[in-house]
């Protein structure tokens, strides 16, 4: 059994689906391969589009990329809503970052100074001003900063709309798990699959690998790229309003509570997404009692009313982390494009990544902000020095 297509996209998270949709919209014949296990990190995310409040010391190239992505996102979301007739829940209220104790406030103030030095806007708010924006905040909250440049989107509605847009644009879905991508100079790539009732292989002009942390397990990728990707476990909670309780948040809240970070992202229906842990545990998606406890403790510390909400869901996902926390997007061989390693920013970067990959597939140059994130930076495998040639 063999299937042919112009382009094979490997992975049905938001990165792969956005690329498949946009490549099909550009006139290409596209096959999307996805195991259909529902294990995509895209479904466990909170949907923060937060280049400003996520920026950290020393990650200026990533900040520039994230700013490109957040500027692009609203128009992409508009196109998606128009193509599918569904709402994806984009919110533009911004992020209110708050601190719980004096040490938390000092750390948040230092980070905000750094962000301002990069030209990012942040409005200082004392405790009273924070509570006038969000009346349910705990009296203990010391103060904070409003980052107006952050948005959020309902990640599950967004992922579902992307799937629908891809299908409406003619993308063919093939279930199954990709085991290898075989490329050779001057030859068409071949994609090998495993799974019952699934084609053995797909041949195509180009293959785009967007399999998240699992990308590292696909044979045929440059060894350095495979080694650069790893799963970073994130656990989060979904809280819902009991009947007749009005919404308890307007802004996305990021709180530093006794040195640990927690965020609370509101949805239009009042749901709150509370996250997230960051754990190095390999391929482990179990929900642990300790993580749920810590998330609830920190959420209830800054927003006590969360204790009254229904604990609707606990879940865990595996973000594709990389050695330098940046995504890996670019050409990695004849007919082979990589688009993975989006770590904590997969939803945010999805639209900009689709633009960049479609540019590569159609012979154009991606935006310059992508220059620092090509697979080439991991081209040499990480071997002990002694065995290097």
């Amino acid at each position: 059994m063999a299937v042919t297509a112009d382009i094979v996209v490997v992975g049905g998270g938001v990165i792969g689906t956005a690329i498949a949709w946009q490549a099909a919209a550009a006139g290409r014949d596209v096959v999307l391969v996805d195991p259909g296990t529902g294990e995509s990190a895209s479904l466990v995310a909170a949907g923060m589009l937060a280049p400003v409040s996520e920026s950290l010391f020393g990650e200026t190239a990533l900040l520039a990329l994230n700013l490109l992505a957040v500027r692009r996102f609203p128009q992409f979301a508009d196109e998606l809503e128009e193509a599918t007739g569904t709402q994806v829940g984009l919110r533009r209220e911004g992020t209110l970052a708050v601190a719980y104790d004096p040490g938390d406030y000092a750390a948040l103030a230092r980070l905000t100074e750094f962000r301002r030095s990069l030209g990012l806007g942040a409005q200082s708010l004392d405790a009273r001003a924070c509570r006038s924006l969000e009346p349910f905040l705990a009296p203990d909250v010391r103060g904070g900063f409003l980052f107006a440049g952050d948005y959020s989107v309902d990640n599950r509605r967004y992922a579902s709309a992307l799937s629908r847009a891809a299908a409406l644009t003619g993308v063919r879905i093939v279930p199954g798990r990709v085991t290898a991508v075989l490329t050779a100079d001057g030859a068409a790539p071949e994609v090998r699959l495993a799974g019952a009732g699934v084609p053995d292989s797909l041949s195509c002009a180009a293959v785009v690998v967007c399999a998240g942390w699992w990308s590292g397990g696909i044979e045929g990728l440059p060894a350095g790229v495979s080694q650069a990707v790893r799963p970073v476990k994130g656990q989060l909670l979904r809280l819902r309003l009991p009947a007749a309780m009005p919404p308890v948040l307007h802004y996305t809240i990021r709180a530093t509570v006794r040195g640990t970070d927690v965020y609370l992202v509101p949805r239009a229906d009042g749901e709150l997404v509370v996250g997230a842990t960051s754990e190095e545990r390999g391929d482990d998606r179990t929900v642990t009692a300790g993580a749920v406890h810590d998330l609830l403790r920190d959420a209830m510390s800054v927003l006590p009313v969360t204790g009254e909400l229904t604990l609707a869901e606990t879940c865990a996902g595996l973000r594709p982390g990389t050695l330098d926390n940046g995504p890996i997007v670019g050409v990695a061989g004849d007919g082979l494009v990589i688009a993975t390693g989006h770590y904590r920013n997969g939803i945010l970067l999805s639209a900009a990544t689709a633009d960049a990959v479609v540019a590569l597939l159609t012979g154009h140059a991606p935006a310059p902000e992508w220059a620092a994130f090509s697979p080439e930076r991991f081209a040499a495998p990480h071997r002990p020095a002694a065995v290097r040639p």
Copy 2:
């Protein structure tokens, strides 16, 4: 559509199912009516058979009944295992009651003195002795008492075995919800049902109402009995061992942690049941963030390793509470038997309740410990004094 039987049992929790099985084993033709919604409080319980560590000041008649029940339980469980060929997970290790801080210890010591004054056995243990029995206990634990007379059972295996035993003994199951039980002097009772594809009514020689807190909503019961029953919400958690982690508990642990009570009940496969809240919220089975947080906080305070366990399930059930915390078991009209209001002790009391009800149905006297728990104590409806005759 009408169905006839010797005995109609209303309610498929452990009380109703145990009665149906035993009545059928005694040669009666039995129909069991159950809505099949899986909302039985029996499925949310932890399965503690704990007359000793559950006994409270002022509840001596209930203690005597619970002691009767725990003496009866092992033989009943043996018969059940033999009848069905399945194990119900009876454990006889006892309960280790521990205190977290000096105030907790003082309260536990006072309660233990009272229990000893009633002749119950309790072995005093200092902190070191507690940890030698349960090495994973937190260093903060001040000490405690071992109550050897407590058992536990896997409530879900037990409920499932009872259903199987009832079916094997010829009990017929009718789905649907009972709306009314019509009785009249000298006439056979009639049971009215609601639900699609369900008989409108059942006629029988006797009806036994075991519908838990919902019993109060069935028309035709004495008004005082209906008014005496209410739902008391209990939330609990099920924690499971990650792969390769050996069991972390041997005894049932009851802990007093900064004035609140938490219990941890181990199963043979290492699962721990952690409970439970006690909330007056009417017909509300939602799982709340605050309750899950508090249970995890208290469990992790006394047994820190619980933080590493998988949070496999959160659930809420509605115990049938009564005005005096005692069950309501006995004849309440011509051909009408009540067996409800078992509150926190439904699993424990199920075998003894089946004995008592089968005695009543076959013209024998129940054990004298039941004398204080007849429906007659609630015979007069609770009306304002002004309208009493």
